[in-house]
Symmetry: C2
Subunit: 353 residues, 2 copies
């Protein structure tokens, strides 16, 4: 080749393409328009070397031998934006939190976007900006992605499936099967904020509710808790199905009875009001920034203190105890009785996450 | 607790639930119906300890220090089933192949299902069985998953986003930026089989085509190639956008000219016929079981032999060379001229993967 030729190391789309205000089918083609979308939107937003390498998979240094944690979550929430969050923050925090709940330090995420033809490009930008913000707060990088486009009506704007990888430091053994009789049950804050906030954003409540979703990355709180105690046995974020379903899962995995104290359950006034109006129980309403922890009794005080010292755990409290017995969740009611708390049977609030 | 109490270690759904012939909204609730779906379908199909632990994330032993590869792909192909494959085999092979293309040994996958209310349960079972079969062939485990359900019309039956983790053995440096002038360009087999097979399955061709999609896991072939050569510089599977787009990406990443020989491009007769009828070029039609390799010239022969020794590489051949120069793809045509081969500009075949 002649040496005068200028060697271009630039992007795949040096030629300006028509500007698109909306997602079109060609953005999912795998060709020039997909490249343009990736280079103009995803690379600048999620900037990291692994992603912008542009190969079929990100290659990442895994320092030290050991265990990794792997998780995935699909997100189809409607509406896409609601007080306190959106599908972007949800997609990042959901997977970050799943990793943190097994004691992993979340490191890398992948994001698979399924877009609807006609989605305003500004909407996508807003979702991506929100993902960037949540990822920065959680200290994770979005290192791989994929974009597909379906025809109008086949998606509600955007669906996002995220997957995540975290490192599990040596010695951490946290899982649903490790609850022991005598342990105490903690919750990091109020119940049902996410579910009711999304419901309100849909305009499905007959009254106004001043309420934000609790969406938050919880890995910082988990590190704080694990720094003060080696006796955190179970961590789980009570998302779909709510705290009732989550605790039932743990009761089955560990083969124990979990006894809750109704008066101890923290619920915000607007959530309580909405639930009473709708016939819901806040125990079954989804949370996206809360965790329940099951901890050896001697460490409960310092773990609670560690939770309360973090931004998303200020209202942490004890809500129950673990007992030997049939795998079930019981509730000591405010009027002194005991009732069984079952798992969510049908569907209460579809499309909540 | 009294010792007579029987301690149940069983699943979360000991009580029989109404049998569902179709997916209903409650299957995405996170409650009892979701648990039932997971326990009756996903656990038995994908059986492995990490998945059936039932925690928020799978915890996995990563043997030895080193690098990992991470990738994701969303799948919205229509129709769900077509000759040679279905959305299940596509979802597994797509991610397995992305990992293999950076020289990684694929190990674990995650699967995020977005289901349409009303999807026949038998259809889902068939898709899951296909995923199981492809995962077994590729030697990977599906260790984490998620299921969401959207209302009728908001999904075409099922969308699947997979993510995958692989181990990158020490010393492997394979990526789009490593093509060097003098290297040869190989292809593992015929072009365009997947795209045309899916198109035919949609009934969008005016004539009958006897053609299977080429969907296949390529990690076995890659291991065979890397066992005989340390000079495999680039591997990539030409999916959406076809071989033309893939080679343009590599030309830009490496800053080289890639020169193809038209007569050398392997295309099956029915693909050629369909493309002529439709005005398509097989160079732009998607493949799902092919790879292109860019290899140092002294190793081309043994790498080709290694490819041909595997089930999915029997028709492997050389199709071009890498030259110093402007980042572009040129084609030496059958009639002796040279033309520029550009990337796919718009969208030719939507919903192909």
């Amino acid at each position: 080749m002649s040496s005068e030729r200028i060697k271009m190391e630039g992007p795949l789309c040096p030629v300006p393409l028509p500007h698109h205000e909306q997602v079109v089918i060609g953005h999912g083609s795998g060709g020039r328009m997909t490249a343009r979308l990736i280079e103009s939107l995803f690379y600048p937003a999620f900037q990291n070397e692994a992603l912008s390498q542009g190969d079929d998979a990100a290659v990442l240094d895994m320092p030290g031998e050991g265990r990794i944690a792997l998780s995935t979550d699909g997100h189809i929430v409607t509406p896409l934006f609601f007080p306190g969050g959106d599908i972007g923050s949800l997609a990042v925090c959901g997977t970050v939190n799943d990793l943190a709940m097994v004691g992993a330090v979340p490191q890398w995420l992948t994001a698979s976007f399924i877009l609807e033809e006609g989605l305003p490009m500004d909407t996508l930008k807003q979702v991506v900006a929100s993902m960037t913000k949540s990822a920065a707060e959680a200290g994770v990088q979005i290192v791989a992605g994929d974009t597909k486009v379906a025809e109008r009506g086949k998606v509600d704007g955007v669906y996002i499936s995220t997957a995540g990888v975290g490192r599990v430091p040596a010695g951490r053994m946290i899982g649903g099967a490790h609850a022991q009789p005598g342990d105490v049950v903690l919750i990091s804050g109020t119940l049902g904020d996410h579910g009711i906030a999304v419901l309100a954003a849909r305009g499905q409540l007959a009254f106004d509710v001043e309420l934000d979703s609790d969406i938050a990355p919880l890995n910082g709180m988990v590190e704080g808790m694990l720094a003060v105690s080696v006796n955190v046995h179970v961590l789980r974020d009570p998302t779909r199905g709510g705290l009732a379903t989550t605790l039932n899962e743990i009761a089955v995995q560990s083969g124990v009875t979990i006894r809750l104290v109704e008066d101890a359950l923290p619920v915000r006034a607007p959530v309580q009001a909405a639930c009473e109006m709708l016939g819901f129980d806040p125990l079954y309403v989804a949370n996206e920034g809360k965790l329940t922890a099951i901890v050896a009794p001697q460490d409960a005080g310092k773990v609670l203190a560690a939770m309360r010292a973090t931004p998303y755990g200020k209202e942490a409290c004890q809500i129950g105890v673990v007992e030997a017995g049939h795998p079930q969740v019981l509730m000591q009611t405010a009027i002194g009785g005991t009732r069984v708390v079952d798992v969510l049977a049908g569907e209460m609030l579809p499309r909540i996450c």
